[in-house]
Amino acid sequence: MTRKHILVALVQDKPGVLNRIASTLRRRNFNIESIAVGHIEIPFLSRMTITLEGDDAKVEQVRKQLDRVVEVIRISDITYENPVEREMAMIKVKASASTRSEIIQIVDIFRANIVDVSPDSLIIVAVGNQEKVETFIELLRGFGIRELSRTGTIALPRGGAGPLTIDESKPLRHVVEHVLTEEEENLPNW
């Protein structure tokens, strides 16, 4: 079934990681709807939230390929874990003396914030899930949107330990060295 999926990943904060992830998704012909990256509570680690459209099997396939990227520590598809999703939009909308109060009413209904006021426009910040943000933008469209910037979705699964919960009592080193047996070592050199 094709639907929107939310992938969350813990990655090492190194140059080129985003590039490798984007490259893998492009190769499998996925169109990235949004991607949000930021540091987390542990130094040198970042969390990525990727939203994309795709059928379950194909997304699972690409998830495994992304997991193969050396700098990816863990990656999980939380689509079916009832996650809390939020994104933020900043909207600069035209506002004349006659439309201003109507806009403020809509802002109140959506519990958005006006963060800048100038004679002919307002900057509004809205936070919510994708659906709410999109409905809000649609309502403002009639007044004339001058500039629009969205962060893309970030998400956390509800409840206690999620797939990316880090057990801080354990070291992050999990490298398993491949140790050759004596028999293997003695194989002729062909």
Partner: protein
């Protein structure tokens, strides 16, 4: 920094020290402007053998073949810009065949990066899709760590090529040299042991089904699970079919060996898979050349898929029982759980198919057949040689008409199908296995793609025997034009130079053979000769490779050699 002055080393020295500590003995390279600090350092490390190639592509293929025959990481080295881009084909080749190759490229000094400096190219960006891991090293203090990580990643888990891009000033700067004891890659943890309950499911199936077949791929070679595979097959009496790159992982002279599958695989191997009720796929990835139309692959079978790379499970083929782990470990556990079985009627059915569709008999024919030459090479060498092939018809004949009993004795470009691979790869194979005989089988087309490496061979005095099958065509493409494009030949006929004179110009002994009767003496002469030797075989120009599963067909719809072309000799 640096309480002991002795430990202050330049980046170039650190690179050499790290390579030696990692057990690297050979570097295939080609110098250039930004690599000069490194080439100035090499003489201080005579234990590190540098082999000067004639084109960077040659370095990458040589490193690739070196890794295939030794199981160790192969190292190639190129300068920035065009040197680096010339490695790309070889890196892609190693990526598709899961070969541990470390590619080191020089880069313009850090203060020039991003300014389109002379010979600057973003090689880490270019190679992202074809490397397992790559990095631009911007600080000499991080160099040792990156080298350690790169080599670790290249040769563990599912092996693959890695690339380090090192700017000139990073090679020149001095720093305190500390060889990192541990690799710190929290995100990299190859799964080495299969899940017990999955293994149980698989062995339950093996213990009950009636028509099982094993498909053994290159993963068996990589994991060195030869003894385990043999035990599994013998104990349970399961026929073994290999993939093209799995050739040699199970002795072809074994009674349970039924050749290899796929587009030019043996008809009986393809039939065995088609009619089986259980496919045990070990270290293979259901490549389209192996499966034919994938939806009709093994239609009556359940699939057990064992691979170390989780991303291979379900990629091309759904598995009923996936097992992710190192093959050697998984098979060891499986072998303890399987029961002794007989599959008498199934095996006799396979033997019947083998008689019905003989694929490895050289037919009686007056002209000089490439198949005949391959078989003669087998006889002259008694099978005790490493066969390195190029890509095309001769590659398929070399795989079909030679019997491979030794692991890693067949070196060929499978996934990428890189013409020009053969000659430089034979150099890597010979350097990696100096006591083995190495035969390089090339066509007249592929041979000319990397012909300049003959000079490398002479300069390093590498005793390689080269057989050039000259049919005056790009044979495999011509075959497709004949069979699929109704003989509309275009762009496939070759004007060729005198290959014997070319060999002689490089200082290599060469002979031309165009009659059947001269084949054996020429091969014996080549074997007796100390040093490289080239034989140009002027072969039947329009010979085709059979069996042939045409594109878009299932494995059992293979074409066999039309009978008017000659009767089969038993």
């Amino acid at each position: 920094m640096g309480n002991s002055q002795d430990n202050m080393k330049t980046g170039a020295e650190i690179l050499c020290e790290c390579l030696l500590k990692e057990g690297v003995e050979v570097v295939f390279g080609f110098p250039g402007g930004v690599l000069l600090p490194l080439y100035d350092t090499f003489p201080k490390y005579p234990q590190l053998r540098h082999i000067l190639v004639r084109h960077e592509q040659g370095a990458s293929h040589a490193a690739d073949a070196y890794a295939r025959v030794t199981g160790k990481v192969g190292v190639c080295l190129a300068t920035s810009g065009p040197g680096a881009t010339n490695l790309v084909t070889g890196i892609a080749n190693a990526y598709l065949d899961s070969v541990p190759v470390l590619a080191i490229t020089g880069q313009v000094p850090t203060f020039f990066i991003g300014k389109d400096a002379f010979q600057e190219v973003d090689i880490t960006g270019i190679t992202i899709p074809i490397t397992k891991y790559n990095h631009l090293v911007l600080d000499t203090t991080e160099l040792a760590e990156y080298i350690r990580e790169a080599i670790h990643v290249a040769q563990t888990g599912r092996p693959g090529p890695v690339l380090l891009d090192i700017p000139r000033d990073v090679l020149q700067t001095k720093t305190d040299f500390i060889f990192p004891e541990k690799v710190d890659l929290p995100g990299y943890k190859p799964k080495l042991f299969g899940h017990p309950s999955q293994i149980k499911k698989a062995t339950d199936l093996i213990n009950t089904v009636e028509r099982p077949v094993i498909i053994a791929g290159r993963g068996v070679n990589i994991s060195r699970a030869f003894a385990e595979l043999k035990e599994l097959a013998e104990k349970s009496q399961i026929p073994v079919v290999t993939t093209f790159l799995g050739i040699g992982c199970f002795p072809e002279s074994h009674v349970l060996s039924y050749g290899w599958l796929g587009m030019h695989g043996m008809g009986y191997a393809n039939k065995a898979i088609h009619h089986s009720d259980l496919v045990i796929a070990i270290g293979m990835r259901f490549d389209d050349r192996a499966t034919g139309v994938v939806s009709a692959f093994a239609p009556h079978a359940q699939i057990v898929h064992i691979d170390i790379d989780a991303a291979e499970i379900g990629k091309n083929m759904n598995a009923d029982v996936p097992i992710v782990g190192d093959i050697k470990n998984v098979l060891q556990v499986m072998n303890k759980q399987i029961t002794k079985r007989e599959h008498v009627s199934w095996l006799s059915q396979l033997d019947e198919w083998r008689t019905m569709h003989p694929a490895t008999e050289v037919r009686d024919h007056e002209g000089l057949l490439p198949q005949y030459i391959i078989r003669q090479i087998h006889e002259v060498t008694k099978g005790d040689t490493i066969i390195v092939t190029d890509v095309g018809q001769q590659q398929m004949w070399a795989a079909q008409y030679f019997y491979y009993d030794k692991p890693n004795s067949f070196v060929s470009s499978g996934g990428l199908g890189t013409m020009g691979f053969g000659l430089p790869a034979s150099i890597g194979a010979k350097v990696g296995a100096p006591h083995e005989t190495v035969w390089c089988i090339c066509g007249d087309g592929g041979f000319q793609m990397t012909v300049q490496e003959l000079a490398t061979m002479v300069q390093e005095n590498l005793d390689i025997k080269i057989a050039v099958m000259n049919n005056g065509w790009l044979g495999m493409v011509r075959q497709w034009q004949e069979l699929i494009y109704n003989k509309r030949y275009f762009g496939t006929q070759l004007y060729n130079p005198d290959f014997v004179k070319i060999a002689e110009a490089y200082g290599i002994k060469g002979v031309r053979v165009s009659k059947k009767i001269d084949v054996r003496p020429a091969l014996e002469k080549a074997m007796d000769h100390k040093g490289p030797f080239l034989i140009e075989f002027v072969v039947e120009p329009e010979e085709n490779v059979y069996p042939f599963v045409p594109p878009g067909k299932t494995l059992v719809e293979f074409l066999e050699m039309p009978s008017p072309m000659g009767s089969l000799k038993k």
